[in-house]
């Protein structure tokens, strides 16, 4: 039973680390602000979540397990919100996605401000 | 000796980088950032002095008999909070300087002060 737990948590930790690294590579290699932020937002939240679940499996104390569950919930809540706020701030300040050939349509969308 | 004193040498490098930013850059906010770098390097110095090989965090627990030194931790705790207080005060001074001189570059502020001194001296000579 111990060996199964160790293998499971090791696998989850490795997957989480790989996701974080790939998010970092995406941050450097993607062409545009919005694509970069999408890469980092998705992979950071999922990677941190995987690392936390891997640690949860290894925990022996109920208190440690409960604290890790709360940290996981907070990460899942705050990660996507941060990406949303960054994208909204960028769009509000006029940064358009690359190769968006219809600039007037984008400006009109912003003026009606129906974006959440 | 490199591994033993590595922490201290890195601290000296960081301290000198902070000092260079304070001396060589004219922008007031950049100087404050350099001062923060300088402060944090001193914290790193104290905390790496407090570390003991094979010790753990200084919270008493069963089965542990070697602890890291808690006294520098207390000193640095105080220093961090005092540092942010003085940084806040420095930033409010920068805001007021910007309102009076309309610039936060050291050279432009010096220039405005020199011009004012010259015009007031000329006004005294005329009178």
């Amino acid at each position: 039973m111990d060996i199964v737990i160790t293998i499971c948590s090791g696998f989850l930790l490795l997957v989480g680390s790989f996701l974080c690294i790939s998010g970092g590579i995406g941050l450097l290699r993607f062409p545009d602000f919005y694509t970069r932020m999408h890469a980092v937002g998705v992979t950071d939240t999922l990677g941190a979540g995987m690392i936390l679940v891997g640690l949860m499996i290894l925990s022996t104390d109920l208190l440690v397990f409960a604290k890790l569950v709360m940290v996981l919930l907070l990460t899942l809540l705050i990660g996507p919100t941060t990406s949303h706020v960054l994208a909204k701030a960028a769009f509000h300040n006029g940064l358009l996605p690359k190769d968006s050939n219809n600039l007037s349509q984008a400006k009109e969308k912003e003026n009606t401000s129906s974006i959440l | 000796m490199l591994i033993g004193l590595f922490n201290d040498w890195i601290v000296v490098v960081l301290m000198m980088i902070g000092l260079y930013i304070v001396i060589a850059h004219g922008n007031l906010i950049k100087k404050l950032i350099g001062l923060t770098i300088f402060q944090t390097s001193v914290f790193i110095f104290y905390i790496s002095m407090a570390n003991v090989d094979g010790g753990t965090a200084p919270i008493l627990a069963d089965g542990i008999n070697q602890y890291s030194n808690p006294l520098p931790h207390v000193l640095i705790l105080t220093a961090i909070v005092v540092g942010i207080a003085t940084t806040a005060l420095g930033l409010s001074l920068v805001v007021r300087i910007k309102e009076s001189y309309n610039s936060i570059e050291e050279e432009e502020i010096q220039q405005q002060d020199n011009d004012e001194q010259q015009t007031s001296r000329k006004a005294e000579e005329i009178l």
Partner: protein, 339 residues
């Protein structure tokens, strides 16, 4: 091993800050610098210090600098003259300092002089004299309580200084106008307002947990005060300064700041009146250990109150000054267009 990597990253970031001309990027790099040094402190087993550095250096400091950059402009002008004399001074001083470190004890050695004078007494006698597991809290709040008193007064003085420099006379805000602004902003910022309304009670709860759990784990008054203030600052940033001032009256917050320092001093005076020294907690109750616990609880409460309220006051004044500047600029534009 990990501390070598972290220290090298710190040097890289510091060099990057020198080369940045955009102040916004430099402030963000300073925030990352603070967070990396907090990770370094965890690697050095200094958990209390890491907690404080992460909350203060990576949180409040970055925030205040960003608020100031919105008021003063975010581009740095390049200097006209070459900084050779500065480089010369820095290299000479660095060389002398490195020559000075050659006599220092090696990293981690247990027989360095720093570990052999007063610290063994604190580690050995903390449990039976004071009775709490966290040695850092017992040294901070009981053995060296007078230094902590001076520090609380320094924070209070910084709050007074910011109030002196940056406070503006506040006109009575029109309630209907505030409601109108709030409603129009609500639709634009719906997602983050709802998420923050869900999170702010938990941030307050966490701040209270850190405050009272400081005896048993990392924590204490300073960290709790900063976390408490950051929840209020989050609310202010999302809902506007006028709404936040209605929710949390600024005069009340200033009174709380003064009350925190007063509470700390009164614990000392009560010890004097009971026959002991200033800030000697043994005489606060019939059992010395109970007296120590009571004294530590009260002064940590005072520290938490003062730190939280001073941080809130500082942020309110920075934001209020910015609103004042924008208001004045709007009036000036109206005047110049009327002429």
């Amino acid at each position: 091993m990990i501390d070598i990597v972290l220290l090298t990253l710190l040097v890289v970031i510091a060099i990057a800050i020198i080369r940045m001309k955009d102040l916004f990027a430099a402030v963000m790099l300073a925030g990352i610098y603070g967070l990396l040094s907090a990770s370094f402190f965890v690697a050095m087993d200094a958990v209390d210090v890491a907690f404080t550095e992460a909350a203060v250096g990576a949180g409040i400091s970055t925030l205040l600098m960003l608020v100031v950059i919105t008021m003063t402009g975010s581009k740095e002008k390049p200097t006209r003259h070459k900084p050779f004399s500065a480089l010369f001074v820095v290299i000479i001083t660095g060389g002398l300092l490195i020559y000075g470190t050659l006599d220092m004890p090696y990293f981690g050695s247990a027989d360095a002089p720093i570990h052999n004078h007063t610290s063994p007494r604190y580690i050995k006698d903390s449990m039976q004299e004071i009775g709490i597991p966290n040695i850092v809290t017992s040294v901070l709040a009981s053995y060296r309580a007078f230094d902590t008193f001076g520090e609380v007064v320094v924070i209070f003085t910084a709050g007074i200084g910011v109030l002196t420099l940056l406070s503006v006379a506040r006109s009575k805000e029109n309630d209907d106008k505030i409601e109108a602004i709030n409603d129009s902003m609500h639709q634009q910022h719906l997602v983050i307002r709802i998420i923050s309304k869900m999170l702010i009670p938990f941030i307050f709860l966490f701040a209270l947990y850190v405050q009272f759990h400081g005896d048993f784990g990392p924590g204490g008054g300073f960290q709790a005060g900063v976390i408490f203030a950051s929840a209020i600052i989050l609310y202010t940033m999302l809902f506007g300064l006028s709404t936040a001032r209605k929710v949390i009256n600024q005069t009340f917050v200033q009174i709380i700041a003064a009350l925190g320092v007063l509470l700390y001093g009164s614990v000392g005076i009560v010890s004097l009146m009971n026959g002991g020294n200033f800030l000697d907690y043994n005489v606060l109750s019939s059992n010395p250990i109970t007296g120590q616990h009571l004294g530590i609880l009260l002064i940590e409460w005072g520290v938490g109150c003062t730190v939280a309220s001073v941080m809130v006051v500082i942020f309110f004044n920075f934001a209020g000054r910015r609103a004042f500047q924008q208001h004045k600029k709007k009036l000036q534009d109206k005047e110049s267009s009327a002429c």
